[in-house]
Structure formats: structure tokens, C-alpha cells
């Protein structure tokens, strides 16, 4: 069985079990390793990718569900919000072990793409599904505000 969709702007056909979670299709079939596995149950956000511009947990989304859709992973981030997020992440030295950070960057980018100037409550709402066991949360919050400001400037 094969599923066709757009992966990071490139039309892609993956030959895999349509029930396979998108996470594993991206990692093991398409060979893109930036998206991580943390829980497999939509509880941690490590596997966050964008499907049609919206953040989704790829560990619980079957490959078949993205047929004909646009999927963006950390490797394919292009938007000015994404660049601002990644620059702020470096400036504020957010990552520690780094394992959750692809997911954090994906969630933060999606937030800024839909909300140019998120409040702390907006950040809580958009980011509380992304666990960071190193607890880099204060820097994630500061970096999201910094990214929003840098886009505005």
C-alpha cells in the first residue's frame, strides 16, 4: 500500500502500512529523523509536525490520514516565524538534552503563525502539550516572546 502527500514541499509517495503512525513513516520510511518519539500516545509533543499548517501529534496519526495533504517537519521549516523561533532558541540557549526541542519548535512556530503576539496564557495553551523533562520551559516562554518581537521589528 502506498500513500501520497506533500512532505516538506516535495510530493512524496511512501510505501508502507497505511495504519503506520505518521511519526514512524516519516522517520523510518522517509528517513527524516528530526521528529522524535517520546510517548506514542499524544501526551508529550515530541513528535509534533504540521499537517496543512496545523500542529499535530504524528505518533497517533495514521499515515493514511495525510493522503493528499501537506506535511511539514522540522527539516522543512521555512516560514519567517520558524526562522524567528529558531534564532530566538539559539539566542536564549533554550535546549538542554534537546530531545523534545524539535517538537517545541514546531509547536511554537505554529503558535506564532496563527497568533503574532501570544500572551503568556496563549503560550500555556499552545505549549502545555509539549513536555520537556529538562524543564526548559522558562526559556521556551521567553524565546517565543522574543521571536514575536523580532518578527514585529
Amino acid at each position: 500500500m502506498s500513500t501520497s502527500f506533500e512532505l516538506n514541499g516535495v510530493s512524496t509517495t511512501l510505501d508502507a502500512d497505511p495504519a503506520m503512525p505518521l511519526l514512524w513513516a516519516i522517520r523510518e520510511v522517509a528517513g527524516l529523523h528530526g521528529t522524535k518519539f517520546g510517548c506514542g500516545m499524544a501526551l508529550c509533543g515530541a513528535c509534533t509536525v504540521h499537517v496543512s499548517g496545523k500542529p499535530v501529534r504524528s505518533c497517533v496519526m495514521p499515515l493514511s490520514a495525510v493522503a493528499g495533504k501537506q506535511v511539514t517537519t522540522i527539516e522543512g521549516l521555512q516560514s519567517k516565524q520558524a526562522k524567528a523561533v529558531q534564532e530566538a532558541w539559539i539566542l536564549l540557549q533554550v535546549p538542554q538534552c534537546g530531545y523534545c526541542q524539535s517538537g517545541q519548535v514546531m509547536s511554537a512556530t505554529a503558535l506564532l503563525e496563527s497568533n503574532a503576539e501570544p500572551t503568556d496564557a496563549d503560550i500555556d495553551g499552545a505549549m502545555s502539550g509539549n513536555i520537556c523533562r529538562c524543564a526548559t520551559y522558562t526559556r521556551i516562554r521567553a524565546a517565543i516572546h522574543a521571536a514575536a518581537q523580532s518578527i514585529k521589528a
Binding site: L43, P95, G98, R133, C134, T136, R141
Partner: protein, 730 residues
């Protein structure tokens, strides 16, 4: 990689003979083994070195400075710290510095805090590397300077170095490290070098950006999860549902029928499904039926165990500290205080579920892992494979967190991976063992469960005259490689923080009752202090209250003889505005202080408690003294992360057993801290000239009691059982 000239080799051998005992000398000598086949096999792709004066440094012709890190990078910033120290003495340009993980080679890369063993833990990475890497960098610098002096025919004393470039002011000549590297490689390694005066530090104490951050922001950082070798298979292991149970029989047919499943094999820890993909292995494991023999398994519930612990606390136990006569002092006290505290089992739950890749043949075993315990893992892997330790090589990759979990004397996840590769046929097929989150939460090696009982006596002047502290729980070190550390019935990791109590009290009794459960236990970030600091700091707060004293002033007055601890306490209180008057209704401030791994940390927490009892931690002010601050921003980050890690545990986390079965499965039932629960944090670092100590763990210990004490200040209710009651949770 160019081999050193024989002259350099013999010179370093002399160097070794003269100064055997100096760790750097050992490294320099054996450094030439390092250039042999095992080293080449492990070498990362990069610019070839032309100058490798010791096991920790390579300078390429392009001027790149590669620092070889003997410590795993698991988030704590060890790679950056190690590179900062070496690059400082080398006078390297930070922009040209990169880090590579050392291979498993205890002769070269032992953790000097562990003796002869290579590994990372106990917040020791910087403390044990400090002198070793300063010397390694200084020797490299001296040789590059000597090369320039030789080339320009000028005295070394006329040369200066800045950011990887050697200058001769008189003749206006300059040369970059890269251009000097091959000439330096032919020179002898100097016996002695002068280290910098700390006043001249350009990197240490300043903000060197972390070297691993860019790759962790664009998804390119390589974790074990990301290892993909040609022909690699993925294995999931079905483990017994009860601790101590074993495989009775299994039926591989349903699992084998899953498309993509290649083999089903039995190994000592269970039954593994080896497949072409994670998804196939997962479906195969779900379909696999195993009959377990649980005749020797742990079948008790944690509630039962805790009942037994409570009773044990009333019986005589081993003495961990005895000063004066605490029992008599408490008996004759005019006022007494008593409390008990209960701590659950805790899982480490590193963000990257445990994983390891093994490529096993008849004569070699190659391992890829976020390896924290190279020497132990090498030995255990060899045993599982039926090989010699030197036939086992380890590629240490970034670890997606560990918090202690990856450093265990049984090397559980490594041994599982090796035994699966062996049962598969040891034919050189690379196999990745992947744990799921459920495997991790069910997998044991938890922070032990503990019961603490404390009593104190005050005299008529409300002075603390007697302190009695009984701890009940399992030993982490008993029955393993570290058994030798257990003396007279005292495992130091059960009592540290309690038996090392800093407060000046004339009569102290600290006792330990060690229990035996089949639940495997392990050090968890900050180890003993993860519970002892809570007990001591929550109880001293109760005692201060009973004495009618301010909790900050009461502590400070008992710390006159402990200037570093007193200083962090005062700084935290001052920056938090401790004396700025009472908090509004529904809010409270709490303070706690502790020492772990020779680093001193004090924290003040501010909480809000709503009318339904739900607690929000609004702000935490943290003061830390870790000696010379190598990377202030990494120190701040470790305090922030430690606070978040510790706070999540005290508020939400517990592993409980019902009839032997772990009741939690994933992050829904094993709750950890999330973004909306993270307080604002301020970190203040005490300037210091003392040798640097670690920061990965000590920030975890005080947050629990600081918050518990703040809840008391806000509500008048003490917390005696962790995690905090559900009613406190938002």
C-alpha cells in the same frame, strides 16, 4: 590523522614515568594507544588532526580545535563546559571549537571522581575534569607557542596568543593554530606548564554559547533513536509484568505472522520481537503471548510496603551520624516536635525512551547509545556477548536526558540489546532495541520509596538541642558493583543530606533501616538529597515555627560555621525580598537550602493557593555557589531545569504498585511538570575562587521543601506525603 613522531612518543613516556600519578600524564602516555585501530574505528568524520598532543585535543590544519569529551552530553552542558576549560588554557577561538565524544577507554578517559572507571554521574563532570583539561589545554598551547618560536627563531617569551592566533609583536608576524599544528606535533610534550591566573580567563566565567544548541534547534542532533545502519532491524522486548517474574513459555506464532517481523527470540529479560520497523515490532509484541512464572515475583503493593516501613522506623537501626545524645536531649526538652515524611518510587522518564543499537559478530560488539557508564557497560556487554571487554566498542551519542537512568550497574538496556543480538544469531546485523514510554515507566530502577521520621527538642530558650532522624528504605548500592561503598549497614546514598546535616545542633542522631524489596532501584537526579533535603528542610521549618522564629533567621543562626551555605541562604532571601513584609492572603513564601556534591543551593518559592486548595508556584529565587562559575548561563539553565524537574516530582509524580503491578503507564498517569506549571525563576550565582563543582543535580533538592514551606505559610497546612495531595493540584 597523523601519527606523532617517535620523539614525541618517547618524550611523553618519559613524562609519564616522571609524573605517574598525575592524571594528565597518564592520559598523555596512553594517548598513543588511542591512535591505534580502536580509536580510528571510533573517529568521527571531521578534519584530520595534525596535532594531537593528548587524548583530549586535536588541532586540524584548518585551525579547527576538537575537544574529546569523556563525559556524555545528556542536557547538562558537559560538552560545552569541558570545551570551555580546555579552550581557555589553549587560548582557542571559541568559534573553531567543536566536541567529539570519547570512545570507551577507561585508561584514557576515567572519571577521576570514580577512580579507574569511565562514566558520568554525581555532578562530577566539571569537578573531575577541571585540572586535567586545563593542563591538557595549557600543554597544547605551550607546544603551539614553541612551534612558532622555532619557526620564527624568536624566544617564546616574546609571543602572545589570542583566539587561536600566535603573535610576535616585534616582527609583526602572526600564525594561526592550524598553520602551526604540524610543526607542534613534532615537538616534545612539556613536563610542566603554568596555568592561567583566573583573572586572565577569557572564556571561563563568560558566556560561551553551547556548542550543541544549533543542532538541537534544527533537528539535526544525533540521538540513538536516529541511528540508521544498513540492514538494521528494530527490536521491542516483552518484559515480565511483575518484578522478579521470568518467562515460563511463549507462543511466537501470532507475532511472527505480523508483516515485517523477522524473528522472535527469548533472552534473559523476556521475549524480543525483531522486525524491519518499529511499527512491525510493536504490532508483533502486542500480538505476542507469554506465560510468566511469577513464583518469585514481588506481589506486594506499595501501600503495604509503606506500612512495613512505618513500623521499621520504630525499631533500632544502623547509625549514620551520632553527635552527643539526641534521645536524652529530646527527652529532657521543654518542647518537642515530631513529623514523618513519605516519598514514593520515582521513574526518571528521560525524554528519549531508552534505546541502544548493537552490531554483534563472533569477535566484536559495537554499541551506539547515549551511554553514561562506559566501563561498566563495556564489561556487562562483553559478558552478555561472551566476549572480552576490549572487543566491545561504544559510540557515545547525545542522550535525550538520563537523570541517572542510563548509569546502572547492570547496564539493563545495553545488556538487553546485546542479548537480543546474540539470540538473533550474532551475524553482524545491527539491531536497535527501542523502549516505549510504557516500558520506561514499568521498567524499574526507580528512585527508592522512603519513610522518614523526625523528632526535635527545644530548650526553654527555644534553642534546638536535639535532632533525631530515622530513614527507612532500599539501598541503591547494595548487591552491586558499588557494594563496597556500604559500610556498617549504611549506604551513603540513602542518608546523604541527612547524615551531613549542616545545622549546628548539639545532639544529633541519624539512623538508617535498609529494606529489601524486589523492586529495582537506582540513583535519580540528586540521589539521596532528593528525599533527605525535603525531610530536613521541611522539618527544620516546623521546628522554627515551634520555636516562634522566622524560618530564614532560624536557619541562618544555625549556619554561622558554614559560610558558603549561609551565603546562598542570605542571597536567596535577600533577592526574594524575604524581609519585605508579609505576603497577601492566599500567598506564601518558603525557603530551603541544601548542599549536594559540594555545591550549595538555596531557594525561595512563592506560591498562591486558591480557595479550593489548588497550588500555583509563582516564582522561585535561587542562589547557587558552585565554586568558579565556568559557564554562568549553563549554571542558570541547570538551576532552572533542576527546579522544574524537582517541582514536577513533588507535585505530581509517583510510581505505585498494586499487587506487584506498576499502576502508571505513560505521561497521563505518571505526571510530570508542564509549561503552564513552570514558575518564573531567577538564578543568582555567588562569585567564587573555589574549584568548580557540579550543577546538574543540586538545583533539584531544595525546591520541594521550599514549596511545601510556602504552602504552610499560605495555608497553615504542612505537606507530609509526596507527591502533594490531589487537592493541591491544578
Amino acid at each position: 590523522m597523523i601519527r606523532p613522531s617517535p620523539a614525541a612518543a618517547s618524550s611523553t613516556r618519559r613524562d609519564f614515568l616522571k609524573t605517574a600519578g598525575s592524571a594528565t600524564a597518564v592520559a598523555l602516555t596512553i594517548g598513543f594507544e588511542w591512535l591505534g585501530p580502536p580509536r580510528r574505528a571510533m573517529a568521527a568524520v571531521g578534519s584530520p588532526a595534525v596535532f594531537a598532543p593528548n587524548a583530549f585535543l586535536r588541532v586540524g590544519a584548518d585551525g579547527s580545535v576538537t575537544v574529546i569529551a569523556k563525559h556524555v552530553e545528556m542536557g547538562q552542558g558537559a560538552h560545552t563546559g569541558i570545551a570551555t576549560v580546555l579552550a581557555e588554557e589553549l587560548d582557542a577561538d571559541w568559534k573553531q571549537v567543536r566536541v567529539e565524544s570519547a570512545p570507551a577507554n577507561a585508561k584514557l578517559y576515567a572519571n577521576l571522581a570514580f577512580g579507574t572507571m569511565q562514566g558520568t554521574g554525581g555532578s562530577s563532570a566539571m569537578a573531575n575534569s577541571w585540572s586535567q583539561l586545563r593542563e591538557a589545554g595549557a600543554k597544547g598551547r605551550a607546544m603551539l607557542l614553541a612551534a612558532a618560536a622555532q619557526e620564527w627563531k624568536v624566544p617564546v617569551s616574546d609571543l602572545t596568543v589570542d583566539k587561536g592566533v600566535v603573535y610576535h609583536a616585534g616582527s609583526k608576524r602572526q600564525a594561526a593554530f592550524g598553520a602551526l599544528a604540524s610543526r607542534a606535533a613534532a615537538l616534545p610534550v612539556p613536563d610542566n606548564v603554568t596555568l592561567k591566573d583566573p583573572q586572565d580567563f577569557k572564556l571561563i566565567g563568560h558566556q560561551c554559547p553551547r556548542l550543541d544548541v544549533p543542532s538541537k534547534v534544527d533537528g539535526s542532533a544525533q540521538f540513538t533513536l536516529d541511528v540508521a545502519l544498513p540492514g538494521m532491524l528494530v527490536a521491542l522486548l516483552k518484559r515480565p509484568p511483575l518484578f522478579g517474574a521470568t518467562v515460563k513459555s511463549f507462543d511466537p506464532n501470532a507475532a511472527s505472522a505480523v508483516p515485517g517481523v523477522v524473528k522472535v527470540v527469548q533472552v534473559p529479560r523476556g521475549v524480543a520481537v525483531v522486525a524491519k520497523s518499529f511499527w512491525a515490532a510493536k504490532q508483533g509484541r502486542d500480538a505476542l503471548s507469554v506465560d510468566w512464572d511469577d513464583s518469585h515475583a514481588e506481589k506486594r503493593s506499595t501501600s503495604q510496603m509503606m506500612n512495613e516501613y512505618r513500623q521499621l522506623a520504630e525499631r533500632p537501626a544502623a547509625s549514620a551520624l551520632k553527635v552527643g545524645d539526641a534521645a536524652a536531649a529530646i527527652k529532657s526538652a521543654t518542647h518537642t516536635v515530631a513529623a514523618s515524611y513519605e516519598f514514593p518510587y520515582l521513574a526518571h522518564a528521560p525524554m528519549e525512551p531508552l534505546d541502544a543499537v548493537v552490531k554483534l559478530t563472533a569477535g566484536s560488539c559495537e554499541i551506539w547509545a547515549g551511554d553514561q557508564f562506559q566501563t561498566v557497560d563495556q564489561g556487562n556487554a562483553a559478558k552478555a556477548a561472551g566476549l572480552e571487554p576490549q572487543q566491545v566498542s561504544i559510540h557515545t551519542l547525545f542522550a535525550g536526558g538520563s537523570f541517572g537512568r542510563r548509569a546502572n550497574v547492570g547496564s539493563d538496556y545495553i545488556v538487553e540489546a546485546v542479548s537480543i543480538a546474540k539470540a538473533y544469531g550474532a551475524d553482524g546485523t545491527p539491531i536497535k532495541l527501542q523502549w516505549t514510554r510504557e516500558d520506561d515507566i514499568h521498567g524499574g530502577l526507580y528512585r527508592p520509596m522512603y519513610f522518614h521520621k523526625l523528632e526535635a527538642g527545644l530548650n526553654e530558650r527555644k534553642e534546638l538541642v536535639g535532632w533525631r532522624h530515622v530513614i527507612v528504605g532500599q539501598s541503591i548500592m547494595a548487591g552491586g558493583l558499588f557494594e563496597v561503598m556500604v559500610k556498617d549497614g549504611i549506604d551513603p546514598t540513602s542518608v546523604e543530606g541527612a547524615s551531613t546535616i549542616a545545622y549546628k545542633i548539639p545532639n544529633i542522631d541519624v539512623e538508617l533501616s535498609t529494606t529489601k524489596n524486589a523492586v529495582p532501584v537506582l540513583w535519580w537526579r540528586v540521589v539521596g538529597s532528593s528525599h533527605t533535603t525535603f525531610a530536613v528542610e521541611a522539618f527544620i521549618d516546623e521546628v522554627a515555627h515551634a520555636a516562634g522564629k522566622d524560618p530564614f533567621a532560624f536557619r541562618r543562626d544555625l549556619l554561622e560555621h558554614e559560610p558558603r551555605m549561609k551565603a546562598v541562604l542570605e542571597l536567596a532571601a535577600d533577592k526574594a525580598g524575604w524581609n519585605n513584609g508579609p505576603m497577601p492572603k492566599g500567598k506564601g513564601r518558603g525557603i530551603a537550602v541544601g548542599e549536594a556534591f559540594k555545591t550549595f543551593v538555596a531557594q525561595v518559592a512563592e506560591v498562591s493557593v486558591d480557595d479550593r486548595g489548588r497550588v500555583t508556584v509563582d516564582r522561585v529565587v535561587c542562589a547557587v555557589d558552585c565554586g568558579i562559575p565556568i559557564n554562568p548561563d549553563v549554571i542558570a539553565a541547570q538551576m532552572e531545569g533542576g527546579i522544574g524537574f524537582g517541582l514536577g516530582a513533588v507535585m505530581y509524580s509517583a510510581i505505585t504498585l498494586q499487587d506487584g503491578r506498576v499502576e502508571q503507564d505513560n505521561f497521563n498517569s505518571y505526571r510530570v511538570l508542564r509549561m503552564n506549571e513552570m514558575p518564573k525563576i531567577e538564578v543568582h550565582i555567588i562569585p567564587s575562587g573555589e574549584a568548580p563543582t557540579g550543577v546538574g543535580e543540586p538545583g533539584v533538592a531544595p525546591i520541594g521543601p521550599a514549596v511545601a514551606n510556602a504552602i504552610f505559610a499560605a495555608t497553615g497546612t504542612r505537606v507530609h506525603v509526596l507527591p502533594f495531595p490531589k487537592s493541591n493540584q491544578v
